[in-house]
């Protein structure tokens, strides 16, 4: 933690970094905060591991107003995956975002069922093993098609269309959203038209979801959203050898014309 504070302090006072996004304890509650050179003393209130926030999404909001700002972010494994994916999708400038890594504890990793509970390098914590949770998926894959349909229609039927899943998702960076499209999804009903509402989101997440689990944690109806998106991630990995959140370069298989199955990325 001291190394983390020091690293941030040095970058703010000596380096080119204008601000660092992290969590601060405010009245006993952690919330996002932009640490700056002018208020170095705020760093005493920096916390890590107190709560999960889509910090990358908050950073993106700040950078939307000032694309060239040189900012840093205190990032767990999931935050870094989100940053990489946002850079790959040309939402963030990778040259301008500095990651101050934090490795999660094994308790945190198992609470999150995290596929990679550490960023590429870290200033705080120790690397612990990933927790792979395919139990939910395996169980569903073993059911008959009819049972799976029953299952998902029941789950989708619980949705109150609060948009919490979309709003918390660090990968939902679009400024207009298909889920708001009246021509596509009938408005004025709860639950929203099913299965289309959830399947549209699932399709969009296929080559984007970084498996952070924030959507499922946010859903007031307890819909196993992460399992659905995990499946879509797996589909894209199996079919095209592409997994979101690993590299900041290149295009996802559904983002370019040309063949992604048999050869090199073709065309544009």
């Amino acid at each position: 933690m001291d190394r983390l504070r020091e690293g941030i302090r040095d970058a703010l006072t000596e380096g080119p970094v204008a601000g660092v996004m992290g969590l601060i304890l405010d009245g006993g509650h952690p919330r996002p905060h932009l640490f700056t050179k002018g208020r170095i003393e705020d760093l005493d209130r920096l916390v890590v591991g107190e709560a999960r926030y889509p910090l990358a999404a908050v950073l993106l909001k700040v950078l939307r107003n000032d694309l060239d700002a040189h900012l840093g972010i205190v990032a767990r494994g999931c935050d870094e995956r989100a940053i990489l994916e946002l850079v790959r999708n040309v939402q963030l400038n990778g040259e301008r975002v500095v990651v101050f890594g934090v490795a999660c504890s094994s308790e945190q990793a198992s609470a999150c069922q995290c596929p990679q509970p550490y960023p590429s390098s870290h200033l705080s914590g120790e690397r612990v093993a990933p927790v792979s949770d395919s139990e939910g998926l395996d169980r569903l894959d073993r059911l008959s098609e009819e049972e799976r349909l029953q299952y998902w229609m029941d789950q989708f039927g619980k949705c109150i269309k609060c948009y919490g899943c979309r709003n918390i998702c660090p990968m939902c960076f679009c400024t207009t959203c298909t889920l708001d499209e009246d021509d596509l999804i009938q408005t004025g009903t709860i639950p929203p038209e099913k299965p289309i509402f959830h399947l549209i989101r699932a399709f969009h997440m296929a080559e984007r979801c970084i498996d952070c689990g924030l959507c499922e944690a946010a859903c007031p109806s307890g819909i196993p959203l992460r399992t659905l998106y995990k499946k879509m991630r797996n589909v894209v990995t199996t079919r095209f050898g592409f997994t979101p959140g690993i590299t900041k370069e290149g295009k996802g298989p559904l983002q370019y014309l040309g063949d992604g199955k048999f050869g090199e990325q073709e065309g544009h």
């Binding site: 349909l149 639950p191 299965p195 296929a206 499946k231 063949d259 992604g260 073709e266």
Partner: protein
């Protein structure tokens, strides 16, 4: 219309409206008027079929066929065989009463 214009949203909307099956006709690979629209379609259809299977609607309700403008016989054969296939699978479950609301 190039098959690359067939957004996955159109396919999902068709199923939402109660379509029993959806067939997409595309030019042969390498013969797309817009060069590579059909490659994208092929990839999307693969992902959509996997998704339809996973949520229990069934992957065989969606089919992609490569049919050139000159192949009217293939067009009719494909549509006939797809219709037969859908008849065997039966009507779409989405419009079932039990799924209607809530």
């Amino acid at each position: 219309m190039c098959s690359g214009r067939v957004s996955p949203h159109f396919v999902l909307k068709a199923f939402q409206k109660g379509a029993d099956g959806v067939i997409i006709a595309a030019c042969h690979l390498g013969e797309c008027h817009y060069q590579k629209g059909n490659y994208l379609t092929a990839k999307r259809v693969d992902v959509l079929r996997d998704m339809l299977k996973f949520v229990g609607i069934g992957e065989d309700r969606l089919r992609l066929e490569y049919i050139a403008t000159s192949e009217s016989d293939k067009l009719s054969r494909s549509f006939t065989s797809f219709t037969e296939q859908i008849r065997t699978i039966g009507p779409s479950p989405i419009k079932r009463k039990e799924f209607a609301r809530g």
